[in-house]
């Protein structure tokens, strides 16, 4: 299958990973993975469980430190071993988790504001104003004073998106953002993601929401056994008779969920 990486000279490169290798518990989870995200790119990671999607996402904002490989942010190499660069990269590369991971002891507003205060050293007032703005962006203006335990799963995930956005990230990494949600709560999160796409946010998302992501993504990235095996526009990879591993995988998922790939 083609792995054409369309290089658009007009789009600045935001994040680039070269030959990333990650080993966990003695086995190689990522094997020489290359990935490029240009400004405004929306790429979707798909593949069977255990193929390394989550690990790749966590390596891209250095929650996992790769054994080897290179990482570039805005075409500048990042030194993994240097703590200060690690913290700086993480500020610019937002992460959304499957399990939301909100801070249980803080209200929605404080959840969004805390990193602005502790990392960006903003005043409490400034941080909370920004938090309210970001929460209204994800449609939660009326929930700012509620604690995570008082929110539904979909609302929690939207708070976590607001929390990531408040840091003004250059890229947003989303690790199966709807997998832990009840079916009827998925759409409210997808709406937010679609709005971000419209605003031109650069995103890399691991998901099983094939039809949704096909309508959004510029590119599907198929992973299997720690490698990227196929990469291309969704309409090409999913075209009837494409014979791609991606098509095979996606049609199996759709059979199960009854959704249209």
């Amino acid at each position: 299958m083609q792995t054409d990486q369309t290089i658009d000279k007009n789009k600045p490169r935001v994040l680039e990973a070269r030959k990333i290798v990650k080993e966990l518990g003695g086995s190689r989870v990522l094997d020489q993975v290359d990935l490029i995200l240009d400004r405004g790119d929306i790429k979707v990671l798909i593949g069977p469980s255990g193929s390394g999607k989550s690990t790749l996402l966590q390596c891209l904002n250095l929650l996992h430190i790769p054994e080897s490989g290179e990482l570039y942010l805005d075409s500048r190499p990042i030194n993994f071993r240097k703590k200060s660069e690690l913290y700086l990269l993480r500020q610019k590369v937002g992460m959304i988790f499957q399990e939301f991971n909100l801070f249980d002891h803080l209200t929605a507003r404080q959840n969004v504001a805390i990193a602005l205060r502790k990392v960006k050293k903003q005043s409490k007032k400034m941080a909370e104003q920004r938090a309210e703005l970001e929460l209204s962006r994800v449609g939660l203006s009326d929930k700012v004073d509620l604690y995570p335990a008082q929110l539904s799963g979909g609302q929690k995930q939207r708070v976590s998106i607001a929390r990531a956005l408040a840091m003004d990230p250059e890229v947003l990494l989303l690790d199966e953002p709807t997998s832990a949600l009840d079916p009827e709560l998925i759409s409210e999160v997808l709406v937010v993601i679609r709005d971000l796409a419209k605003e031109g946010m650069t995103m890399l998302m691991a998901t099983h929401q094939i039809s949704f992501s096909a309508s959004l993504a510029h590119e599907f990235v198929f992973m299997e056994a720690g490698r990227i095996t196929e990469q291309g526009a969704p309409n090409v990879l999913l075209a009837e008779g494409a014979g791609s591993r991606t098509l095979d995988f996606c049609s199996k998922i759709s059979e199960m969920t009854g959704a249209q790939a």
Partner: protein, 230 residues
């Protein structure tokens, strides 16, 4: 009956009031210091590098594994006989008591804090790091406030114990409530009345502390946030 009342009001209560304040001056600093030691040690036992962790485990093992009376005897009666390079440490009875209570109480607090820290899901720490927080900032702003709430009821218990074991200060010559009570009993041979009143004083102090701690716990309460089990 009136004789009993006049005995209690004229001979027991005035002296016991003096002892009461001595007790408070021992309890308050050692409770605060003990909690401080407990939080630091508890955090180190979870996050510090291996040798520091082991050292803290050793501290807890020693102070939980020996009787408090022996510890107090050591600080007050034994320490002055040891010398470090010709340098002797001699502390007043009050300092010994506060140090002894705080170190012992800190060892117990650290157990509760440690349990609280371990109960915080790693996902939240990951999220904090993903936002660019340093490990120190994420422990301080995310983990500790939650761990403290989880361990608070355990720590309250420890403070209540501390109030009661402050009575042991009397064995290293401090005239706090128990010491004063013993003095009155010895002088008047009215053990029953005296020690009943002493008991009531402790009961009042413990009730007061319980109410205060309960109030603090309520103030820190967060909707839906599960409290520690004990």
């Amino acid at each position: 009956m009136s004789e009993l009342i006049s005995f209690i009001f004229s001979q027991v209560i005035p002296d016991l009031n003096t002892g009461f304040w001595v007790s408070v001056r021992l309890i308050v600093p050692s409770a605060l210091l003990g909690m401080f030691i407990g939080v630091i040690t508890g955090a180190l036992r979870v996050y510090a590098p291996y040798p520091v962790k082991k050292f803290c485990d050793f501290y807890v093992a020693i102070f939980r594994g020996t009787p408090l009376v022996v510890q107090l005897y050591f600080w007050y009666f034994a320490l002055p006989y040891t010398s470090f390079g010709g340098f002797r440490i001699v502390m007043s009875a009050e300092t010994c008591a506060i140090l002894g209570f705080a170190l012992c109480s800190g060892a117990y607090h650290s157990e509760y804090i440690r349990g609280g820290l371990l109960s915080i899901r790693t996902g939240q720490i990951k999220a904090a790091q993903a936002l660019g927080m340093t490990p120190f900032a994420s422990v301080k702003s995310i983990v500790l406030p939650q761990a403290f709430r989880h361990s608070f009821s355990g720590c309250c218990n420890e403070v209540i114990y501390l109030i009661k074991y402050s009575s042991l200060a009397s064995i290293i010559t401090i005239n706090e409530m128990t010491g004063i009570g013993r003095g009155i009993a010895k002088a008047t041979f009215r053990n029953v009345e005296t020690f009943l009143v002493v008991g009531l004083y402790y009961l009042a102090l413990v009730s007061l502390a319980s109410a205060l701690l309960f109030y603090l716990e309520k103030r820190m309460e967060i909707p839906g946030f599960e409290k520690g089990t004990q």
